[in-house]
């Protein structure tokens, strides 16, 4: 991870924070984008191993609900407690679910995740007395690291917190990707057999990736719940999971920061289309993603890198900190 990379990310984060500070109406939008970006970052982690989960929203939901229950039991709480409880809940759930799902790959991995998330969804929706049913669980506004804030200050602080967490998560994931477990995760995608034959448990590698990805999603879930004062079953619906995958691919699945670019664009299109072309926002988003997949499969960040990076630069980073070295994904003859 080069210094230039860090500078770019920090600059982008500061710019976003400045936008939030100057334009109050962007705050809700930015918190939503950052929280969904965090969930999409979880998808990026799994995509690193070539796996896609159409059920990842379950961690988004479980952390939001856990934070909500904590808030309810304590009669109001702090955002730090909510984050801690939410992350812990998602980590535990992902460990349990992960022990099952890491045995499977590809479509089976995706399906089993979907199945688990739909079980959670049905439970959240059905057990009205406990979860608030389909209307969701309300939670009062938490204090912000000890400070009790009014709505406007709270929202501003929440945006700053979201941007900071998004930045932190992006950097952390980049460190993780460059580490030996991160490289092993990538190895799952191309050759799990060889991974086993160098003495590494592919399941353990994937389980670690799965828990990490659940935790990043969990942060997003808590932020969104804190923003809305609400955790609802739709957090865990399969369409929500699909949206996360959508965002990850839109931004560029090879780049941790792509998750946030994707989320900003996705939510931007969604809100502006909802405001100016109320009837066709799904249509617009659908066409956007088809265009991206057909014409820029490396996503928006991939497109930007191809446009701006000089050819020399592209050659010069071979060891994967910024993975620009994959040419077109040729199916190797070794994969049969």
């Amino acid at each position: 991870m080069g210094a230039r990379n860090i500078v770019l990310l920090v600059t982008a984060a500061v710019l976003l924070a400045a936008v939030a500070w100057l334009l109050p109406w962007t705050r809700t939008f930015l918190v939503i984008a950052m929280s969904k970006g965090l969930a999409a970052l979880g998808i990026v982690i799994l995509l690193r191993a070539g796996q896609v989960s159409f059920g990842h929203a379950m961690f988004f939901a479980v952390s939001a609900y856990a934070a909500g229950f904590a808030s309810r039991m304590l009669g109001g709480t702090d955002i730090a407690v909510m984050l801690a409880v939410g992350i812990a809940a998602a980590a535990v759930l992902s460990l349990v679910v992960g022990l099952f799902v890491v045995r499977y790959r590809q479509i089976f991995f995706g399906m089993l995740n979907l199945a688990f998330s739909m079980v959670l969804y049905s439970i959240l929706e059905k057990f009205f007395e406990i979860t608030g049913g389909s209307d969701g669980l309300r939670l009062s506004r938490p204090s912000m690291f000890g400070l009790v804030l009014q709505r406007n200050d709270f929202d501003l602080m929440l945006v700053f917190l979201s941007i900071a967490l998004a930045l932190g998560a992006t950097l952390a994931v980049q460190v993780y990707f460059a580490s030996s477990y991160g490289q092993a995760l990538r190895a799952i995608k191309s050759n799990e057999t060889r991974l086993e034959y160098i003495g590494v448990s592919a399941r353990l590698v994937l389980l670690i990736g799965y828990v990490v990805s659940a935790v990043t999603g969990a942060i997003g879930g808590v932020l969104l719940a804190a923003l809305q004062g609400l955790a609802s079953p739709s957090f865990s619906y399969w369409i929500q999971s699909g949206e996360f995958v959508f965002i990850a691919i839109l931004g560029g699945s090879a780049f941790p920061a792509g998750a946030f670019v994707g989320a900003l664009v996705y939510e931007g299109v969604r809100i502006y289309a909802a405001a100016f072309a109320n009837d066709i926002w799904e249509l617009v988003l659908g066409l956007v993603i088809i265009g991206i997949i057909l014409f820029a499969p490396r996503g928006l960040v991939g497109l930007a890198v191809e446009t701006f990076a000089s050819p020399r630069k592209r050659e010069a980073v071979p060891d994967g900190s910024v993975p620009m070295t994959n040419a077109a994904p040729a199916k190797g003859s070794a994969e049969q």
Binding site: V19, W25, I32, R138, R151, G229, S232, V261, V265, A275
Partner: protein, 432 residues
């Protein structure tokens, strides 16, 4: 990364639209309306939106509100609570709308009410029915110029017991979400207080948006309850009625459907006679006390011309909220010595205002709740219409069946006496 930057800049540029302060009379009065343009609840949202457009077009021809033309902004509640909150905030902070009408969904009302209070924007809850918000919190900016759950359910119980005093068993089939659960809690609490010996034989909560009730209907046929209650609405209610009617369940049990006024036209001949129908207030296009008044007729005709359908209760709810707003503005302008009022002045003036819009007047109490009388009837065929209309109507006075200010509905309903069954009501026959 550069993309992020570009977006940030674009967002910044888009945001800096000059909007100076309008201290005096503004060029236009902006109203933001949240409504369902998509999703199942658009059966309410689309007519509600049409009503707002129809009325505001009319008003703007004659000077709008207080001489200021009105401009409407619509937000789709169907895009989800997240998008709704973001857009709500954008309208208030960027478009600087003076008033928000939000919303249809009770869940959205619960999310929006505290936000309105924080943003200090006047918010009329124009269609949602949950009793919780105004009973559990205190608001300066949040009002409901229309009907709500408690009198709706209580009047339904009263009317049901009037029609079927010997009722022994009841089953409920409600949608599985807050309204379905809350309305059943209100209904069953009232029923227990008024006629404690009625036995509840089944409580079914199929999911919101269920497409098929075959299994539920089989079970109800096996149970044979005297009454089947459903507070469902929209496609769910239509499906339930059609499937139940087709399979003869509606001959076997008395159906009580407090929201069915909004489904009558769509159901056409599938709605049998003899079903108890409610209208969430005093809302009905054949309202016996109003249907012959010229402005009422003109409104129904204009609405039908615009949309091809008769107005249903959300249309009346919208009209009631708009009427309350106009009256509040006029009251505030008067109190302000003819000067354009501040948001706070309009908000405070809403208290005690009366909405008069194609129904019995609705007075807004000091807790923000409007008192809407409740119209109920029994479905009946009239060859003049292709669908069932209401007969044997009764109108229940709101002040007698609403929770008193400062009380919680569920607690209050436990304390009502069977003597309430003798409440004086106005009754009407359908004039063929």
């Amino acid at each position: 990364m550069r993309k992020t930057f570009a977006i940030a800049v674009a967002a910044a540029l888009l945001g800096i639209t000059p909007s100076g302060f309008a201290a005096d009379k503004p060029a236009e009065l902006k109203i933001g309306i949240t409504t369902f343009s998509s999703g199942p609840a658009s059966v309410f949202g689309v007519p509600g939106k049409a009503a707002a457009e129809l009325l505001i077009d009319e008003w703007n021809k004659t000077g709008g509100i207080g001489g200021v033309p009105v401009r409407l902004f619509f937000v789709d509640e169907g895009a989800g609570t997240q998008a709704l909150l973001a857009e709500y905030r954008r309208l208030v902070q960027e478009e600087k709308v003076a008033v928000m009408f939000a919303s249809i969904s009770s869940g959205n009302c619960q999310a929006v009410a505290p936000l309105a209070e924080d943003l200090k924007v006047l918010n009329y809850m124009w269609d949602c029915g949950t009793q919780r918000i105004l009973e559990e919190g205190k608001f300066r900016y949040v009002y409901r110029p229309q009907s709500y759950g408690t009198p709706e359910m209580l009047s339904t119980v009263l009317y049901m017991l009037r029609k079927k005093p010997d009722l022994k068993t009841i089953a409920v089939v409600n949608q599985d979400y807050a309204w379905g659960r809350d309305s059943w809690q209100l209904f069953s609490t009232a029923l227990k207080a008024l006629k404690p010996d009625v036995k509840v034989v089944a409580e079914l909560f199929p999911k919101l948006g269920a497409a098929d009730f075959s299994t539920e209907i089989s079970r109800l046929q096996a149970l044979r309850p005297d009454v089947v209650l459903s507070t469902s609405w929209g496609g769910d209610l239509d499906t339930l009625v059609r499937q139940a009617n087709q399979r003869g369940l509606m001959n076997q049990s008395l159906f009580v459907l407090p929201l069915a006024e909004s489904s009558l036209e769509r159901l056409g001949s599938d709605m049998p006679e003899g079903v108890i129908v409610g209208a969430r207030g005093n809302n009905y296009f054949l309202n016996p006390e109003y249907k012959d008044k010229p402005e009422f007729k003109a409104f129904v005709d204009a609405f039908q011309k615009k949309t091809g359908a008769y107005p249903i209760y959300p249309v009346f709810h919208m009209a009631q909220s708009l009427s309350a707003l106009r009256n509040a503005y006029e009251k505030a302008i008067k109190a302000n010595g003819g000067q354009w009022p501040s948001h706070e002045q309009v908000a405070d003036a809403t208290k005690g205002v009366t909405a008069e819009a194609y129904s019995r007047p609705i007075m807004i109490r000091e807790d923000g709740q409007g008192l809407a009388d409740q119209l109920l009837g029994v479905s009946k065929r009239d060859p003049k219409y292709k669908f069932a209309i209401m007969d044997d109507m009764a109108v229940y006075p709101a002040d007698k069946i609403s929770t008193p200010v400062g009380k919680i509905s569920i607690e209050w309903l436990k304390t009502i006496e069977p003597s309430m069954l003798n409440l004086q009501v106005s009754t009407f026959k359908h004039a063929m």
